[in-house]
């Protein structure tokens, strides 16, 4: 194994500093007692307390959460269906076009997605609000879901489904009882991906939102334009900790499960 030479150490330090210094500063200043963001005046947690009383932020957080849950659920259903067709249906007319179009939103500039959705909603006379934000988020995040799910389906053993049919399942119950439980981890991670995409989306939400449907990123963005307040630092720190806890828990659970599985497989060979 390679040792940590001075070069490696420096590279590592710079890399991490580049990634995390901004966040560390933000977290540190969220505990600043001064109202001025750039002047340190002692440790305090008062901004967290104030945050709890800021109705505008709490409302925005609630809107964001609802949008994220609903839109990621819709995206997961649509994305999984699209993945099934792409992986399973074999060759059909327009398959290449279809698969290309599924992945296009991945590389499409968000401004364009947002603008075209806005034009659509205006065109069909849909009042903008939570509902339109949900639709917009489901639209752009379903392609992420279908990428995740179709890569799982590509390695899925088709004979499992045939076995289910052979044992008396209809096509639908074979999917529900066998395919879905097996690909569930991919579907869930697709949902989580869609959920986080929706949580932090600013561009598309600001195009498609209307009165009474201000999401948290929009709220933060507009608040910052009036000047960065320590309250926003506190809010951001909370968001960072929630995400960090989520990611760390998920990776610990995955790690533990795979270790347990390996141990069980070893045990199975010995018996």
């Amino acid at each position: 194994m390679r040792r940590l030479t001075w070069f490696n150490t420096t590279a590592l330090t710079f890399g991490f500093a580049f990634l995390y210094l901004p966040m560390v500063l933000l977290i540190a200043y969220s505990f600043n007692s001064s109202k001025l963001v750039t002047v340190w005046a002692g440790f305090s947690t008062k901004w967290y307390g104030e945050l709890l009383h800021n109705v505008a932020f709490l409302d925005a957080a609630w809107v964001t959460l609802r949008v994220a849950v609903v839109s990621s659920t819709i995206a997961t259903i649509l994305g999984t269906m699209a993945a099934l067709v792409l992986v399973r249906a074999g060759r059909f007319i327009g398959r290449t076009v279809f698969s290309g179009m599924i992945y296009a939103p991945l590389v499409m500039p968000e401004v364009i997605t947002g603008l075209s959705l806005l034009l659509l909603f205006i065109g069909i006379g849909l009042d903008r609000g939570i509902f339109t934000v949900v639709l917009a988020h489901a639209t752009f995040s379903m392609c992420y879901v279908s990428v995740v799910v179709s890569s799982r389906l590509a390695t899925f053993d088709r004979s499992l489904e045939e076995a289910a049919l052979d044992l008396g399942c209809s096509q639908i119950s074979a999917f529900r009882l066998v395919t879905l439980p097996i690909i569930a981890p991919a579907v869930i991670s697709g949902w989580l991906l869609a959920f986080t995409l929706s949580l932090d989306d600013l561009v598309i939400a600001s195009f498609t939102t209307g009165p009474g449907a201000t999401t948290l990123p929009i709220k933060i963005w507009s608040a910052v334009r009036l000047g960065v307040s320590p309250e926003i630092n506190a809010l951001s720190t909370l968001m960072i900790s929630i995400v960090a806890i989520g990611v760390i828990t998920a990776s610990l659970v995955t790690k533990r499960n795979s270790l347990r599985r390996q141990a069980e497989e070893r045990a199975a060979i010995q018996t």
């Binding site: 053993d157 045939e162 076995a163 052979d166 044992l167 008396g168 119950s173 069980e264």
Partner: protein, 374 residues
């Protein structure tokens, strides 16, 4: 002897369980099964044997309902199977990959098909317990598929496919994933279970030894055709073609021309070699091209020219393959042909009589070889 020999295919009164009637299956331009008609009888252990791509898996998948014949009909107990989807057929299949449901326990895997039939709970429990007992899996009922060994998985797959008591069980390379020793034990276990349950088994395999061991009849396939379907003994001793003779077991095939003599034929196979003689029922005109197929264990090897035998040729030992219980000698004739012979090693290695480059005589009777039309 009052015991009846199990040979329903020779009994004209017996009704076949499965009938293939002029079945053809095409995938695009590729003809996987070419106009085949044959019958499988109840309680048979029928093996489809052939190299990969010969169409044996396609035949099996048509029985399961995963593929439909392009033309022709498949009848199960007299009923046309075409309109019946896989989940409504009294046919179950054991998959090559076992296809065990990884998220379900052994018990739930076996109960899966029964639950789909809406069988009452106590009956399901009784049936699953019975299957667990049959396959000796009682103590693994609560385990998940990844928590048991390969041999146990194979038995779960078998138990699951037998649980619904199908009229016909299809086995797709059922022992392919097991190591040689376990495979042999499992072959006997399969035969045992087949006998106990009285289910008709159709097995697909590319392993001729496996087919010969387990099956009541073996169908040797090549390029979408069943070349010969018969008992293992007849397939081995009376192959109907060079392909079957060559595919099953070890054999030496000599090409020559026939001339009738004494209820058999003289076979001229090389300039300067005496004609070989073989008894045969087949009709060959004088000078017709023919093949003589001789199994190595039917050829005797000796240092001196044997007296009073139908066929004797001299040659030089080219190769010796020592397999422990038997040795195979490759003997080259002065005219270039190589004949394989086998002897049982009844003596210890140090006392063996022949070695490389020895001049030896090979001899066999006039009924040892099989004469095939060219």
């Amino acid at each position: 002897m009052s015991e009846k020999i199990f040979e329903p295919w020779n009994d004209p009164n017996e009704k076949p369980l499965i009938q293939f009637q002029n079945v053809t299956k095409r995938f695009g331009d590729f003809v996987a099964i070419d106009n085949q008609s044959f019958d499988i009888y109840a309680q048979e252990f029928f093996a489809l044997l052939g190299p990969s791509g010969c169409g044996k898996t396609t035949l099996m998948r048509m029985l399961a309902g995963f593929e439909a014949p392009t033309t022709g009909e498949i009848l199960l107990a007299g009923q046309n199977m075409a309109p019946i989807p896989p989940n409504k057929r009294a046919v179950n299949m054991m998959f090559q990959s076992y296809a065990l449901f990884p998220h379900l326990s052994v018990w739930e895997n076996i109960a899966f098909g029964l639950k789909r039939d809406k069988m009452p709970k106590p009956e399901i429990e009784a049936r699953v317990d019975e299957m667990l007992k049959l396959t000796r899996l009682e103590q693994f009922a609560k385990r998940k598929p990844h928590q048991i060994s390969g041999g146990q998985r194979q038995r779960v797959a078998l138990a699951r496919s037998l649980a619904k008591a199908p009229k016909l069980l299809l086995l797709d390379e059922p022992l392919g994933a097991l190591d040689a020793k376990l495979r042999q034990d499992t072959q006997f276990e399969l035969m045992d279970i087949q006998e106990k349950t009285g289910t008709t088994f159709v097995i697909v395999t590319h392993d001729q030894e496996e087919a010969m061991t387990v099956a009541s009849r073996v169908a040797v396939m090549d390029h979408g055709h069943i070349v010969q379907a018969d008992t293992p003994a007849r397939i081995y001793e009376m192959p109907n073609s060079v392909y079957v003779a060559d595919f099953i077991g070890d054999v030496t095939i000599l090409k020559g021309t026939a001339s009738p003599r004494d209820g058999g034929y003289d076979i001229h196979f090389a300039e300067g070699q005496p004609a070989l003689h073989a008894k045969s029922d087949i009709e060959l005109s004088k000078g017709a091209a023919c093949y003589l197929a001789i199994r190595p264990e039917k050829i005797a090897i000796s240092a001196d020219k044997p007296e009073g035998v139908a066929n004797a040729v001299q040659g030089k030992i080219l190769d010796i393959a020592y397999l422990g219980n038997i040795s195979t000698y490759h003997v080259e004739l002065p005219t270039g042909q190589v004949i394989k012979t086998q002897t049982a090693n009844t003596r210890r290695l140090s006392r063996r009589s022949f070695t490389w480059e020895d001049q030896v005589w090979l001899s066999w009777t006039d009924t040892a070889g099989v004469l095939l039309a060219g």
